[in-house]
């Protein structure tokens, strides 16, 4: 079994799976249960100044479901901790004392002035916590008060606050970024300039999950009204992966550690974030959906994967896929593939046919006995049939060997790499010569 020990910006934990700052890390009782279940670390639910905030007394969450009510997306309008600051500090201290090998990071959100930061940081240091995470991400409620994503959406504020924090603590500082911006590299760069030890992303995405069609009100509905909340869960994973990769491959941001967050549900999700550059990962919705025990699958899964790859440290995964993230104009246009349907696995549902015939390239034939076959003359290898097929590995994309002729274009598949920058249809191609 591979050793999963993690060292993220000097914060050590027995595995790279942390619980993100959120309801599961709101108090001692939960965090003890999390550590007993095997989580490597937690980011304690965001602390603020007293008087503490209050939450709504109606529903805080809204959901998007897949088949069988599998929770795919969760939206929340919960604010930062609604308990007194000292209560949280006391609990953090005893938990860290009792679980010294686990990572204890404390999330913070105070007004955008230096004094409050100067005030709260020593209190956190006194708990023995391993680090702080600056919550510049929450898109709901706190942002209306000039905190959370209201800070995270202004790079100058991020840099300024980060600098204050670094000046007032010896602890590692992680800046949590909001995805509710256009270019994630801007806030990440600001955090880096401010001296952040790392960034964590993504925080939740502004969202309305659904509308009650009887009340004509957004969900979750509080007395007939609804406010936008923060969206998370498996549905946001692709957005998060892209943002992590954007930072990882940015020349300006080299060396900026990333803690990956966003819909991580299984060991595989975690490994994907790490392969795109995340040094560790933070989980929330999966734990809220299934309980803390899921970490056992994440531990065994990542360990088995590393064993199968001959890896002995989680750091060997980190960033491994980053060199393969590129721009569209660098993709090899001489790479030609065709869909292939495995008739032994096919259950003849015909979804590939419906998808291709109605919405794509009419490249799948259907016989009277419901045998579905790919018409290579028409197939552009778009992958839609693979995506809609309910049977894993039934439809695959097979590369055409160089030298063979693509029946769709009548052209021989060239062995050489060639991308858009030199393509004759590219008006800019000649100018570049």
């Amino acid at each position: 079994m591979a050793d999963l020990k993690s060292d993220f910006v000097g914060i050590k934990s027995p595995n790279p799976f942390w619980l993100a700052s959120a309801p599961p890390t709101d108090k001692e009782y939960n965090v003890r249960r999390a550590f007993d279940a095997g989580w490597g670390g937690v980011v304690w639910k965001t602390l603020g100044l007293d008087p503490h905030v209050v939450n709504v007394n109606g529903p805080r969450y809204g959901a998007v479901y897949g088949a069988d009510r599998r929770l795919l997306g969760l939206n929340n309008i919960e604010l930062i901790t609604d308990r007194p600051l000292q209560t949280n500090l006391d609990e953090i201290k005893v938990v860290k004392r009792d679980y010294p090998d686990r990572a204890m990071v404390v999330s913070l959100m105070v007004p955008c002035e230096e004094e409050p930061w100067k005030y709260i940081l020593p209190l956190v240091e006194d708990t023995g916590a391993d680090g702080v995470e600056l919550n510049f991400g929450c898109p709901h409620g706190m942002s209306e008060r000039g905190m959370g994503s209201a800070v995270g959406q202004v790079p100058e504020y991020i840099e300024m606050v980060t600098r204050w924090v670094k000046a007032n603590t010896r602890m590692p500082v992680i800046v949590k970024l909001t995805p509710n911006i256009t270019d994630i590299r801007q806030p990440a760069g600001a955090a880096m300039r401010g001296g952040a030890d790392a960034v964590s992303l993504i925080n939740t995405i502004n969202s309305i999950t659904s509308v009650d069609l009887d009340l004509f009100a957004p969900e979750p509905t509080i007395d007939g009204k609804g406010a936008h909340g923060g969206y998370c869960g498996p549905a946001v994973k692709p957005i998060a992966l892209n943002m992590v990769a954007e930072i990882a491959r940015s020349p300006d941001l080299q060396g900026l550690p990333v803690s990956g967050i966003g819909g991580i549900t299984t060991w595989r999700d975690a490994a994907e974030f790490m392969a795109l550059g995340a040094g560790n990962v933070q989980v929330c919705t999966a734990a809220m959906t299934y309980g803390f025990k899921i970490v056992q699958e994440m531990i065994s899964g990542l360990s088995d994967y590393m064993d199968s790859k001959g890896m002995t440290s989680v750091d060997e995964i980190v960033g491994r896929a980053v060199p393969n993230v590129t721009d569209w104009n660098q993709l090899n246009l001489n790479y030609v593939a065709k869909a292939t349907i495995n008739q032994d696995l096919c259950i003849s549902c015909g979804r590939c046919f419906a998808a291709c015939e109605d919405t794509s390239h009419q490249a799948i034939a259907m016989s009277d006995d419901r045998t579905f076959t790919v018409i290579d003359d028409e197939c552009v290898a778009c992958n839609l049939c693979v995506n809609v097929c309910p049977v894993e590995d039934c439809i695959t994309m097979e590369q055409m060997a160089p030298g063979t002729t693509d029946p769709r274009t009548g052209k021989v598949v060239e062995p050489e790499y060639a991308n858009w920058t030199t393509h004759p249809n590219n008006p800019a191609a000649k100018a570049a010569e």
Partner: protein, 441 residues
């Protein structure tokens, strides 16, 4: 006076009162809302779905399941009922394991089809229990059509004709409408008077008059109906029963399984129904299974179903065979009855084992029997009928017979497989052809 399962002879009250209720309760209780949503989520919404092809009434199954999944079960019911007006009964009695569910791609993928039959019942019950009839009768055409037989074929035909504005009179020899739905299906498949409720619901379309106690060849003749009506649909089913043709067949205790089932269906209290201690059912179809299982449920000690051919030739589905076995019915195959012994009443029945060519092997089987139920097929009865084919009224694809202006469908007509759902389809299709004929030009 207490009777129990060991009491010899044909007696009622072999069980404790509470046992009857559990024995004759719904075989497949309706899915609740949650179970229906879970089941609906398994549907892949296949293209040109194989389940539709497998359904004799061509119900758009993926569409109605999607309508259930999206919280509109009444829309789902309308999708079902627009193709099959007896979708409620078919959801209960269709051998789905041989039709839609056998064709389901998830049967192929995982050996577990989507629960199409149960989802269909969920939707149709949801609509019908509100008393909603989602179809509207067209303006009257002034045309009158006679339908003979108030079973699935006749009622399906009548509903479709009425919907198109024709006036329909449905004749049935029995005291109540419904045909085999009312008289011929095992109780546990259609509990709480569903068959009668479905007929009442169906008649809400208007324009349909039911005349019970009227039989063709008794109170009415085909020639007479042709004179009085613009078209005639024959859907009277098979009124005759095949005989065993063995010595001693007339002894007491030997009766037709269809009568046994009809008595059971019409009984107010099944505890009053007498049943033998040692029951032998002869036959291999659904009727034989229904009679055998219900004998057992009534408290018979030993029930043996004997079929003359191999198990693979039984008309009863494997599901039905397994149901019988699970209820304690012993199934014997490749054995033909050769003699009945007993002094006045049957005491024992003797079988000869036969090979695949129906030749006796020399082996015999003697079964104690105080009750013998014959379920070896029904026959068409009646005179002056249109031309026959294989003992049934010859029809073309839309139900036209050899006689101008006379259509036929259901069990009395050639083709088909004597299923409720097939009868509904044939009645519907004949109605559409009658409508086209009457409105042509």
């Amino acid at each position: 006076m207490a009777q129990d399962v060991f009491t010899p002879g044909i007696v009622p009250g072999r069980l404790e009162p509470g046992e009857y209720d559990s024995h004759f309760s719904d075989l497949h209780p309706r899915l609740d809302d949650h179970a229906a949503l879970v089941a609906a989520d398994r549907c892949y919404f296949c293209h040109d779905a194989p389940c539709i092809t497998a359904c004799p009434t061509d119900i758009d199954i993926p569409l109605f399941i999607r309508q259930i999944a999206t919280g509109t079960p009444d829309a789902a019911a309308k999708t079902i009922l627009s193709q099959n007006i007896m979708g409620g009964m078919c959801a209960r009695v269709c051998p789905t394991e041989q039709l839609c569910e056998e064709a389901c791609v998830r049967e192929k993928a995982e050996g577990k089809p989507v629960l199409i039959g149960q989802l269909q019942r969920y939707a149709t019950d949801h609509l019908q229990e509100q008393g909603i009839h989602p179809f509207v009768r067209a303006a009257s055409t002034g045309r009158k059509i006679a339908v003979v037989g108030a079973g699935p074929a006749g009622l399906s035909c009548a509903h479709r004709l009425a919907m198109h504005g024709h006036d329909v009179v449905v004749f049935d020899a029995r005291p109540r409408p419904g045909g085999l739905n009312e008289y011929g299906i095992a109780s546990y498949k259609t509990v709480e008077g569903f068959a009668a409720a479905e007929v009442d619901w169906l008649l809400q379309i208007g324009g349909i008059e039911i005349r019970t106690g009227v039989a063709l060849g008794r109170e009415e003749t085909l020639a007479g109906l042709r004179d009085q009506y613009d078209a005639v649909f024959l859907g009277m089913g098979l009124g005759g029963v095949n005989a065993l043709r063995v010595e001693g067949e007339d002894k007491d205790g030997i009766l037709d399984a269809v009568d046994f089932i009809a008595d059971l269906r019409q009984a107010g209290d099944v505890a009053t129904l007498p049943v033998g201690r040692d029951v032998v059912v002869i036959g291999g179809g659904m009727t034989a299974i229904d009679a055998a299982v219900q004998s057992k449920l009534l408290g018979a000690l030993n029930v043996t179903l004997v079929y003359r051919r191999g198990r693979d030739r039984m008309n009863a589905s494997v599901y039905e065979q397994d149901l019988a076995a699970s209820r304690g019915v012993r199934i014997v195959t490749s054995a033909m009855p050769v003699g009945v012994t007993g002094n006045g009443a049957v005491r024992e029945i003797e079988f000869s084992y036969v090979d695949a060519d129906m030749k006796p092997t020399g082996e015999t089987l003697r079964l104690a029997a105080d009750q013998v139920l014959k379920a070896i097929g029904q026959t068409l009865e009646g005179e002056g009928l249109p031309a026959l084919d294989g003992g049934k009224i010859a029809v073309d694809a839309v139900g036209r017979t050899s006689v101008d202006g006379v259509w036929a469908g259901g069990d009395c007509a050639s083709g088909g497989d004597d299923l409720t759902v097939t009868a509904v389809a044939e009645g519907r299709d004949a109605a559409m052809d009658i409508h086209a004929s009457l409105t042509a030009g």
